[in-house]
């Protein structure tokens, strides 16, 4: 079936298998491999993208559910060669280790800051409660988001 939606600012039409997940389409059809599959059941958040301004698990969404929606993936955070301040903060705070959770983590945090530029630490932790990380213990990730919040 034909599916139309906006991806990272560009309106596109793709042919999708009705049973395919949005994650499969992003990765296999559009070559946007930033979003990862870590569990396939919405528990780890590695596949997190932003759909109509909200963080969602792209592994729990059929591709066709994205019709007419506006989708942002990790690939669009860097603008004109300039990293988003969240990306910079992740690097500067040492919030990146193996990096596998990083795209999903960043998208959850981005979605939070889009709606709430001054979140409390509890709100940051709630925003990433569905993003698992085995490397960092989340501490430097929360620090990174906090540093963006306080620099605003």
């Amino acid at each position: 079936m034909q599916l139309q939606f906006t991806i990272n600012g560009e309106q596109i039409t793709v042919d999708v298998n009705p049973r395919a997940r949005l994650l499969d389409i992003l990765r296999d059809k559009l070559g946007l491999t930033g979003a990862k599959e870590g569990c396939g059941e919405g528990e780890c958040g590695a596949c997190t993208i932003i759909m109509d301004g909200l963080a969602v698990n792209s592994c729990l969404i059929f591709a066709h559910q994205a019709r007419g929606k506006e989708i942002i993936t990790i690939e669009s955070l860097e603008k004109d060669g300039e990293l988003d301040q969240l990306q910079k903060a992740f690097i500067d705070s040492g919030a990146v280790q193996c990096g596998y959770c990083t795209p999903g983590m960043l998208m959850s945090c981005k979605a939070l800051l889009m709606r709430n530029p001054k979140p409390t630490e509890t709100e940051i932790r709630t925003a990433i409660e569905g993003n698992l990380c085995r490397c960092t213990g989340y501490i430097k990730i929360v620090n990174a988001v906090n540093s963006v919040v306080t620099n605003k």
Binding site: D28, T33, A35, G38, D92, L106, K140
Partner: protein, 751 residues
């Protein structure tokens, strides 16, 4: 060398941070080669049985399916994926696909198809008929001669003893003898990247394997053994690693993936989903540890006896090695002159054991450190003082003949932690009454720095100064996401006084990298590989300076090197950039500014930690909240303090899960309960406490700039510290991990 350090001791970001935050870095799952096929495994859903019939015809006719492989059309060669180097004696009991399944998760078949969805669908069409066999999941049952035999012979696959002094005699006459039995569970490594591999075969028969692995030479060796082809026909490239923690140490998918590519002639990607990674790869071995300590009235440990039963799961792998590693640690933390250890490992019909961050240390420390608190309680002594009285001292010998402990700063760790945590006050503060009760606990831990004293431990590095004045390092290192590449670069940068960004350090590639004997295992990388990098850099610098002296027409003592410049002290006009000097050396001496060096480890000192925690337990729901963690580390010297902190914080996350929530639960029928993240709970952000890291940096002779290991030791003391805090809060003696709400409520009921 008393110069102030410029690059070592600085927290700079991991080398590929930018590719990671932009999502551009390619993990194996992200790579797509032209004509690539996709493999999907069928794992057994029967815990023990013989395959009587396997019908793949329906799967084979599904459009898009290329081929289905089972035990009938794959090599029957037995191998042991734990074998990381030739000559290592191992029991071989594993094959690619089995006709006799021994646990839920054993490999039965694989479908190769043109796309992943088709492969997944086809797997569901394979029909397997089993003759079900009796199931053995209890390791204590496995000890009995009468138990069913999982591999034909005895289920006891290892039986090891270590001993110093005469503990038996001491137990007769001691003031107090305290006994405990501690149980630890199987856990999943839970790297966010599931297991994955890609293999491609060229016309000349060379198979290239891209894999997020820990030891490229091990992958090459096992693939060679399993496929019965020469090493020269296999090239292994370490790919971007989405987390391992030991889980990707043993080659699991690699030989199969290589075989599939060889058979089909096409590139094949083999990917596991989360459930497959949980049940079908490796786990931390479960243990049952009986420990008995004789102690004097004033708190001196007189003798100790430890008896550990290791559940190896359905295949041998490292069942014996971990039983040994675990036992040896028991002799390196406290001064105990009379001590014995007996370790047995057994087969069960359960997921396979393997390397897992700490390699036995989390288990032995859970056993002994929970017990230590119980001993302290019995003799009415503060558990910190009890430990201080008995801890080893710097440069103590290992009483069972292992390497000297080196600059072992265990006492410093405990002393510093005691102060920083405010232990005395918090430990003695009156217990609150009511539903929520708080407690504090602490535990110590010891781990190693490589294989010296046990196995071969050496690495070769090849360093070259390029004509544009940059350094190029070839070696078989593997960055697992911990910052190995950056750490090595910082060490080389310090020697050469060169910007870290001007150093390129390649990771393991069997075709390109000089040989490395052991890969990223055994906490050896910073201590052994880092020291190799330091010496290689020093030797190349020496060569460079000697040539420079001749070029400057002076003695080598008069040649200075700083800030990417080299000059003659006698004549300020004689100043070259590194680049100019490389060209000059080429011209004058027809030589390359490069050097290859093999470094063999010269020591294996111990590394120590002390963890202090406070918990709050809800006595009604049994839920435990970890409020505060302090981790003190005997690090020698932190090459990159930010990475050290990152290792510690991540280790604490893993250790809290080990203490409280994580368990691959296997019921008496061999069925697995925690086989998905919805049922296997690792600690998420709302439950992660603050972690304060304190470093003791007293240096270590054979470590680069004095550095020692941290990545494994950091996860071994936290779980017993938490259990001790719970026992302190509730005045109970829980000794079974994980301490679930159910166990807490039960312990309170029995009080």
């Amino acid at each position: 060398m008393n110069k102030e350090l410029k690059y070592v001791g600085k927290s700079i970001p991991i080398h590929d941070a930018k590719e990671k935050v932009t999502g551009k870095i390619k993990y194996v799952g992200d790579i797509r080669l032209a004509g690539m096929l996709y493999g999907k495994l069928l794992l057994s859903d029967v815990p023990h049985g013989k395959i009587i019939k396997i019908d793949t015809s329906k799967a084979e006719v599904l459009p898009g399916v290329v081929k289905v492989y089972t035990h009938l059309n794959t090599p029957a060669t037995l191998y042991n994926s734990h074998k990381w180097t030739s000559g290592l004696k191992v029991v071989k009991d594993e094959r690619m696909f089995t006709d006799h399944v021994r646990f839920v998760g054993d490999r039965v078949a694989v479908v190769v198809a043109k796309d992943r969805a088709t492969a997944e669908e086809a797997v569901g069409l394979i029909e397997v008929e089993y003759e079900k066999l009796p199931v053995l999941v209890d390791p204590q049952e496995a000890l009995k001669e009468t138990s069913i035999k999982i591999h034909g012979g005895s289920n006891i696959i290892s039986n090891r003893e270590f001993k110093c002094g005469n503990p038996e005699d001491i137990f007769q006459s001691a003031d107090f003898v305290v006994e405990d039995c501690v149980q630890t569970q199987k856990i999943h490594h839970a790297a966010m990247e599931t297991h994955v591999c890609l293999a491609s075969t060229e016309a000349n028969g060379l198979i290239t394997i891209w894999t997020p692995c820990q030891v490229v030479y091990q992958v090459q060796l096992i693939t060679s053994e399993a496929l019965q082809i020469p090493l020269s026909k296999i090239r292994v490239i370490k790919a971007s690693m989405g987390g391992s923690f030991g889980g990707k140490g043993q080659p699991i998918l690699e030989p199969i993936c290589a075989f599939l590519s060889k058979e089909t002639g096409a590139p094949v990607k083999l990917l596991m989903d989360r459930t497959e990674s949980i049940i079908g790869t490796r786990t931390r071995n479960a243990t049952i540890g009986k420990v008995k300590t004789a102690v004097s009235r004033d708190g001196e440990i007189l003798a100790r006896d430890i008896d550990v039963l290791v559940d190896a799961g359905a295949y041998f792998t490292n069942g014996e090695a971990v039983t040994i590693a675990l036992g040896k640690k028991a002799f390196r933390l406290y001064r105990i002159n009379h001590q014995s250890y007996q370790g047995k490992a057994v087969y069960t019909n359960s997921p396979i054991g393997g390397a897992c961050r700490g390699y036995g240390s989390p288990q032995i420390h859970a056993i002994t450190e929970i017990h230590m608190d119980n001993v302290a309680r019995k003799i009415g002594m503060d558990p910190v003082e009890f430990r201080l009285k008995n801890l080893i001292h710097p440069f103590d010998d290992d009483l069972i003949g292992g390497p000297n402990l080196g600059n072992a700063r265990a006492i410093d760790c405990v002393e510093k932690g005691k102060e920083a945590f405010g232990w005395k006050k918090r430990f003695n503060s009156p217990k609150q009454l009511g539903r929520y009760v708080r407690g504090v606990g602490m535990a110590c831990g010891v781990h190693g720095n490589g294989y010296y004293g046990a196995y071969q431990d050496f690495i070769t590095m090849d360093l070259r100064m390029t004509e544009d004045g940059e350094l190029f390092l070839k070696s078989g290192i593997h960055d697992l996401g911990c910052g190995t590449v950056t750490t090595i670069k910082q060490i080389v940068a310090e020697v050469w006084d060169i910007n870290v960004d001007k150093i390129t350090a390649l990771e393991g590639d069997t075709l390109v990298s000089p040989y490395d004997s052991a890969g990223t295992q055994a906490s050896r990388v910073t201590f052994v590989c880092g020291e190799c990098a330091r010496i290689t850099a020093e030797l190349l610098k020496e060569k460079f300076l000697n040539y420079a002296a001749e070029i400057f027409n002076t003695h080598v003592e008069n040649v200075e090197i700083e800030n990417e410049k080299i000059w003659c002290k006698d004549d300020v006009n004689k100043q070259y950039s590194y680049s100019k000097m490389v060209l000059e050396i080429r011209k004058r001496f027809k030589d390359d500014s490069s050097l290859k060096y093999t470094y063999a480890a010269k020591a294996n000192p111990a590394v120590y930690t002390a963890n202090f925690v406070e918990v709050e337990v809800d006595t009604l729901t049994g839920l435990t909240k970890v409020l505060d963690v302090l981790a003190v580390h005997d690090i020698g010297k932190a090459i990159n303090p930010g990475f050290v902190e990152g290792q510690v914080q991540g280790s604490i996350q893993m250790g809290i899960g080990f203490a409280l929530t994580e368990e691959i639960m296997i019921d008496q029928q061999g069925k697995i309960k925690g086989d998905a993240f919805s049922k296997y709970h690792i600690i998420n952000a709302p439950d992660m406490p603050p972690v304060k890291v304190v470093l003791v940096e007293e240096g270590e002779e054979h470590g680069p700039f004095g550095a020692k290991s941290v990545g494994e030791v950091a996860t071994i003391a936290i779980a017993p510290a938490i259990v001790n805090a719970i026992n302190h809060a509730l005045d109970v003696n829980i000794t079974s991990l994980p301490v679930t709400p159910e166990k807490i409520v039960e312990a309170l009921n029995n009080k």
